[in-house]
Symmetry: C2
Amino acid sequence: MPSPSSQAKEPTALDRIRKAGLRPTRQRLALAKLLFANGSRHVTPESLFNEARSKRVNLSLATVYNALHDFTECGLLREISIEAGRSYFDTNTTEHHHFYFERTGKLQDVSLDSVRITSLPDAPPGEKVKRVDVVIRLAK
Amino acid sequence: MPSPSSQAKEPTALDRIRKAGLRPTRQRLALAKLLFANGSRHVTPESLFNEARSKRVNLSLATVYNALHDFTECGLLREISIEAGRSYFDTNTTEHHHFYFERTGKLQDVSLDSVRITSLPDAPPGEKVKRVDVVIRLAK
DNA sequence: TCTCGATTTAGAATAATTCTAAAATCCGTT
DNA sequence: AACGGATTTTAGAATTATTCTAAATCGAGA
């Protein structure tokens, strides 16, 4: 038995990086494994760096920034701006929205269909709507 | 004739600051005049500082930060997070949304009723929805 | 294995913001 | 109008997040 399961699998970290046209370096592979291991995640450069460190992955903070930006440009991640002075990267690149817990600074996905937007203004002349971000801010 | 117009007036800068319970210092008055002079505005601390400087208002950048935060706490302004590493303050504190022009970094108000949200998820237990921010990102 | 462009890295540099503590200001009371 | 205490302002240092730099290392094809 080559594999314990024959269900359709998530692509491996290597697959994802290859498909994105990036060189699969040791650092990118390690980060991709952390990021895409299970389910949707929201990381900051700092949080991912600490996580990698704690798992004995040896890399520099600059590399985490590089990788997060490279992944974002290739569509593997999506960047979210919630608070000035802190960037979040989301492994869920499908269209969706967010809860933002102000007390903890954590994010949680909100599925696209639980927020129904039934009208939107026209884009101003010469511009196109690139994305509509909905952030539901939560507090006590 | 005491005044060229007898229509209902916008509150003066002094009124606003007094009503907010803040001391009307020279700096706060000058900034409030710039901010609330006409219509809705979106400023960054830097942009407001430069504007004040160019009008010969003598103050320090730290004071602009202090005033913007004080005004925000008192409900005179609203803070908006659009891009990591840059904060925007909006003189329109009524509920509304925004266009964000990625090319120029400028914001434009979108009235509440041109974005119709007909369903929202329940807030997670123990949390309340404090605000729903919709940002319509525009590009070429 | 060799080679060369891509990637990583440490540390410096930059940018935005906050902090510090001293000086100035505001304003109610004299 | 001067007084005095709390508030505010300020310059500059400190902090935080991020980007840059240029040298070292790595990855993949010949």
